[in-house]
Symmetry: C3
Subunit: 343 residues, 3 copies
């Protein structure tokens, strides 16, 4: 007999899961081009362990441990322990998610490290899910700081799934930055999201605030956004509006938009998105990106993919694709060729 991996406790369940995604990425700009092998052009590479225990009477408990990794060099992810600008620690960490949940008819209580509520409208309506050369500009250029995507020390409540299409979550997270004023609340914040999904249509509104002491380089960060999608079967269209504000001296506000579409043909997919993100800093630096993608699915789990992206800059912006470098207001382009396996 060969099947012999088991978990330790009676009735215990462990699900091992992961993504292995490797990409050849090329970028070119007015200053320098770059060729590289990187990881996660279609879906971020990861290794995870999760499980749910049925406690009877409709109640359940769950845990989720998910770690980032890179197929190109075998390196593993960094996490930010307390939502601080310099709070990253390296090594293999469950940086993508580390949570414990208690679920019942009233919804879900969840605690640990997770996506912030105000992040989800950036990934849910991006045809490229914020991966690779096609990553939307509101994600690539975000001024949202340490909690732009995830936060540590979250206590969250999620609405139950049976509310006629309404869904929502609220989060409070601790910065744990110690007592000395004025930075005692740095990294502490809250975020929420409400939405409605019925049949092919979905809409969600989110907003969050993370506190930082007001200086020339930092201050409270407010992020608000709106995501909409409609699935016409032959094509799914999606759009997003994003607004981030950093209350430093002086205050800076960024505004972004995205429109995108995904066309499934059998197991294959064609993707396109246009997005923009710019701030009200001197000159109003703004980047606009076109991205085109093709995914060839061998199976539900394995795919080859190709992405082409082109960024235009104005107002002094120097955004470039795939690690290339470009002068202010010059454009940059690049592409990804990769393979993804899910397990």
């Amino acid at each position: 007999q060969t099947s012999a991996v088991q978990s330790s406790s009676d009735g215990s369940s462990v699900t091992l899961f992961g993504i292995a995604d490797v990409t050849y990425g090329y970028g070119t700009g007015s200053i320098a081009s770059k060729s590289q092998l990187y990881s996660g052009g279609n879906t971020a590479s990861r290794l995870g362990f999760r499980g749910v225990e049925d406690l009877g009477g409709g109640m359940a408990a769950g845990y989720w441990l998910e770690a980032g990794l890179n197929i190109d060099d075998g390196s593993t992810g960094t996490t930010n322990t307390n939502n601080q600008p310099n709070g990253s620690v390296g090594g293999f960490n469950f940086n993508r998610r580390a949570t414990v949940s208690l679920m019942d008819f009233w919804g879900e209580m969840r605690a640990g490290r997770d996506f912030t509520a105000h992040y989800r409208n950036r990934t849910d309506v991006d045809p490229f899910s914020n991966n690779g050369a096609g990553t939307s500009q509101p994600q690539a250029g975000s001024i949202g700081g340490p909690t732009s995507t995830r936060a540590s020390n979250i206590i969250a409540y999620y609405l139950p799934p049976n509310l006629g299409g309404f869904f929502g979550e609220v989060q409070y997270y601790f910065g744990e930055n110690g007592s000395p004023a004025p930075i005692e609340h740095d990294g502490t914040g809250y975020s929420g999201r409400v939405g409605y999904a019925t049949g092919p249509f979905a809409i969600a509104l989110a907003a969050g605030r993370t506190k930082f002491a007001r200086t020339a380089t930092s201050g409270d960060i407010d992020s608000a956004n709106l995501g909409v999608s409609w699935d016409f079967k032959v094509v799914k269209v999606m759009g997003g509006y994003y607004r981030d504000k950093v209350d430093k001296l002086p205050e800076i506000t960024a505004t972004g938009y995205l429109v995108g579409a995904v066309v499934p043909v059998g197991f294959d997919q064609f993707k396109v998105s246009w997005s923009t993100y710019g701030t009200d800093a001197t000159g109003d630096p703004t980047a606009r990106k076109w991205a085109f993608g093709y995914v060839y699915n061998f199976s539900k789990r394995t795919a080859l993919y190709a992405t082409y992206a082109r960024v235009s800059n104005s107002g002094g912006s120097t955004t470039a694709v795939n690690g290339s470098l470009t002068d202010p207001n010059r454009s940059s382009s690049g592409y990804d060729l990769g393979m993804k396996l899910a397990f």
Copy 2:
């Protein structure tokens, strides 16, 4: 079919196991209070891989890899490679245990990183098993240095389990600190433990020494302790005596006591402990702690828990609960509210 995790070799067995424990912790002292989300208020969070191979004729071989992790931020554990004061390395490490064993009628030979023998009387008789706000003072204040809890590079022998209640272990561990005198033996040491357990009664005596060159801040560390417990079914009572000595200039000796009780009511548990630990440094600084705990077990694997603890200080001691700060000789208190899953 979905069940598809398997180990690589014929007849091979891998057991995947872990703990996911997350806690809201609050502490208050005369100087500062602290609110935080942390991990391991009831049981330290971990992920592990272990297995045993039956070699026939009563002989068996085993391995055990156990890594610490934190649910609050996804970060992972540090280990101390060679038992040195500054020997810690971060990232995901099998810091909790990394051993290979060979077992037969004569007992067990075990090599690698593990608990030191002189640690076990600190955790075995603590109702809170040295976790969370209820952690005993002989653990929280230990002057036992780098090998107070675990050591690397251990070669150990364990008595077989069928000696009429007698049990015991001896360990020798290498500091591997290189040749130059006087620090060539830093981190090298030995430890042993003998005990007797029959029916409801258990008693164990342990002692260990780890060598460090004698200076104003370090020196050989001797730890000796005694643990006793009696399980009356309706209540299990336990007690411990602890003595640690650091042979620096001048020498310092610490003495501690613990008395505790656990009352199981169905799957629920009520816990109480009183412990003290103090040194003969100037003023005889000493801390005394009361801890009260309640655990609600949903199942054998999942529990909610609450702990309250209060520390009194004398002789200049400033021990505080859950990351709060308190002035010399002032008290501090705090509590944990958490959830634990085992898998």
Copy 3:
């Protein structure tokens, strides 16, 4: 029921595998001796996750994640992200291998971190597979730099297995060192290997080059080698020739040889090897090593082993065994006593 580890996707397959190997190692030289517990005296300790998905029509996709670890202290491996002299990052990393593969009748495309092609003739014909005190001198003394054993960012092609005994692979790897001359190509390279294996006989030739800017301490590294083995059943004999050149100022060339034999007796093995490696630096420093090994296999997965090795130095060489120190041109010897489990 207890068997409950499963992978997340329908039809998904995860194989969990590993090695736990711990060794007592002793070495002695003219300056200093050393006793230590270390990991991997017979086979490097590791933990891995791999899988293959059958895509139909003879096509398959695979992934392989393999991380190094140490049983003696629980610490985990470092990887080199971009093949740079100072490119190592610590923590738990899939430093041993992190690849994605696509396989069909035409062979295998593989991308990620893996052994370099020019490494394999060092391990394949070493009776000790480059582990422990018996490690061959062409491995122990290699001047082959950051890609001597593995490289990151590899794109590789492997011939299919059905070519009448011919096998081969070619690799290209990216240094990703950015644009500024002259170090822009540091860590970029290519390697290839061709061979022929039929019945008991195998031969393989490999060569690789990794680029580094030419200075007094670094320059392009060329490695070429030849490995041969013949399995006479009662004894397998093997030999290797190695040549490494670093094109620094001035250029340095190293030459090495190995002859070895493995005698299997039931599950037991006796091993012997003689190897030498020396450079054309001033004095022609050269080390010669005899190594003798015995492995007692309890089963296919579990073994005890002992190795004895002795190194002779000339031309100013100071090579020593197992962490001991020896004067120029003095010899050094040492031994390993260890246990290995595979899972």
